[in-house]
Symmetry: C2
Subunit: 461 residues, 2 copies
Amino acid sequence: MKRIDIKALFSAPPADGTTVTVCGWAKTVRDSKNIGFIELSDGTCFKNLQIVFEAGKLENYKDVAKAGVGTSMQVVGRVVLTPGAKQPLEINADSVELLDVCPSDYPLQKKRHSVEFLRTMPHLRPRTNTFAAAFRVRSTAAYAIHKFFQENGFVYVHTPLITGSDCEGAGEMFRVTTLDLNNLPRTEDGKVDFSQDFFGRSTNLTVSGQLEGEAMALAFGKIYTFGPTFRAENSNTPRHAAEFWMIEPEMAFADLTDYMDNAEAMVKYVIGYVLEHCPDEMAFFNQFFDKGLLERLNALVNAEFARVSYTDAVELLKEHNDQFQYKVEWGVDLQTEHERYLTEQIFKKPVFVTDYPKEIKSFYMRQNEDGKTVAAADMLVPGVGELIGGSQREERYDLLKARMEELGMDCTDYTWYMDLRRFGSAKHAGYGLGFERLIMYLTGIPNIRDVLPFPRTAGGF
Amino acid sequence: MKRIDIKALFSAPPADGTTVTVCGWAKTVRDSKNIGFIELSDGTCFKNLQIVFEAGKLENYKDVAKAGVGTSMQVVGRVVLTPGAKQPLEINADSVELLDVCPSDYPLQKKRHSVEFLRTMPHLRPRTNTFAAAFRVRSTAAYAIHKFFQENGFVYVHTPLITGSDCEGAGEMFRVTTLDLNNLPRTEDGKVDFSQDFFGRSTNLTVSGQLEGEAMALAFGKIYTFGPTFRAENSNTPRHAAEFWMIEPEMAFADLTDYMDNAEAMVKYVIGYVLEHCPDEMAFFNQFFDKGLLERLNALVNAEFARVSYTDAVELLKEHNDQFQYKVEWGVDLQTEHERYLTEQIFKKPVFVTDYPKEIKSFYMRQNEDGKTVAAADMLVPGVGELIGGSQREERYDLLKARMEELGMDCTDYTWYMDLRRFGSAKHAGYGLGFERLIMYLTGIPNIRDVLPFPRTAGGF
């Protein structure tokens, strides 16, 4: 008989007495002399299925009763509807076939384990409640992101991971090479000869797909990327990973307001989708990680995000400089303490801060008329600070070139990028969302290592 | 007035006479003395919107008439419904604002360009019909894949890109490092000291997420990956890229038949979805790339795929050995010529070939009772050959260990993978689909460089 997913059993319970086959792993096994109970998981949903097994019916009752946590099994039994109980049904077993009895050195015994301990076993930790919930939320949120952009006419773009070295931030990049490090080819002047490397040049792992995304947006109108991104920063913190996933939407004929409208709608959609589709997981996080989680997320979904200029935000924050480690004044980059104060204390809801000083922002951001600021905006949310950063891009060739030269950049490295400003240039805007930061925000999990299935962070893996 | 996407105009035409604002790029501009026509694209759909502009209405008539291909513009005008014409409507312009006049050195002039020429400008080629269609099909197919798996209860998993070096196929991997190649740290015996590298070890880019996917499937029951994969093979062919995207689903409590059922349903779903959602793009490919494309894809969606054992397939093929460059006999790996003959000539539809000799397949595949073959299956499709490869995995610890030792592998590199066979092992099966190969199959585009937005292939980029 074909087995049925536990998720399907719960979401559309068969009639009382129906015989079904389920497979899964024992989360707990309890027994008395003649009757026993198994909490069975097959991974398809957060809740376990209760299996009742009886000595009078099972020849292998004793073997089942002493099967350890983690044992895989196939159960054939009858559905017993349990109206009023926590679960809508349980199974009364006619047979329990032990597929693989889990030995006693299985690390995931019933007691609670620290996340630090579980990090040492990324291949097993998704079997625990915390990580099962985290990675299902991750999957659901990823799908919600695709759904939002596809339904709004955005084209999904795969920007390249292996890119040519450029000078900007090269110190924070991973090199990609097939050269034999024990026998490096050299040029006449003794330098490493990268013309003999795989691509005939020096290459590294991308830190952003934005520039390529702009090229695609100026063809498709609206695009988004969703792919891995790399930073070789030696930052051993709970918020930094060397390999993480980014979403980078880009819209042509769009300005800063269009970006903010889209980003606000996207975040609300994704959070709403996860709340709707992962109620058990989210209840778990609300109970065990952050008692205010659901309240905060529901408030966000229903709030109209505030918008304030950097200049006005600085004025508002300066009044509270006595409460900050780093004092605020016009021109400084906002720290997390300031961002959180703005969104949590002053606005009490998500807020976009707009029009930052150009000195603290990137070369490609559109210069405002005031000559001092650029059309950039960061989305700040309670509990986290910056969730999204974005900007209108400088679409005017001459201004872009002047800014790049001012910053000492070599324009010849960016010929193709500047071409986009020569051939049918159009105003455009976009933003970047760090996917792991979103999942941390959604779950209340404080360490990025615990929202990545196989984290790659400074200090090894 | 808020601008409207051309896609929205076509899919839900406003009433005749409605005033609308559209932005986009001129694909062609034609004019006579007093009236002109612009084919306008904003990238949101394959079809262009016809703009009619008249000297009597536009002060800048002459400027518009001589605006070059690629010029960006904003048009305000009235909808003129055109029942019976190729497009449902056109716009009669009240104003045409030229945003950025495209200069005459714009490489994408009206004449037809070779794909080889267009490959030299990946930032501009998505503006051409071929690449606009290819990359929109790519986006739509990617979404269909997510939709299929999510709606069937699969959890989307991000497996790591940076992995520890293992011995298998190390020659085909890209090294990832932050060591200074001009000043490499050495161990006492003069070798490169990778303990000083970023992760404290030697690392490379992944060639497959399958092993990690298995760990996740044994927690969630059903998972899929969809991410970048790398091969440093120096193969300068139309079918090989150094960086490409793979889908690797994995199912617990599943055998070879379950994999084949799922893969068949998935491929039919994705192709059906693209046919439904990209009719203009698919008609374009059918007309310009492969006249039999739509017929072949429609046949596939409606066919029941055949299944034949490798042993039987070899018997069938041997009868036609006179037609093959490489002769077939039991034990050889099937070449594309054999695969295509099977699916095109013998079965005349897609076919799974099952139970290959273990010598030509991977260590992790489940050994059959006959001692000679493994529970592997490849999906072959007309016009291409192998589209998908998959297998039931060896879930028996002792047999897996024996096979690895037989192959001279170091089991200590795979402790975590073998753990999956110690702690609640369960039969499981999965497969791999090269995303670019699917897109080539869907579009008829013969070169992988033309289905990747920014291809990374041997020979540079």
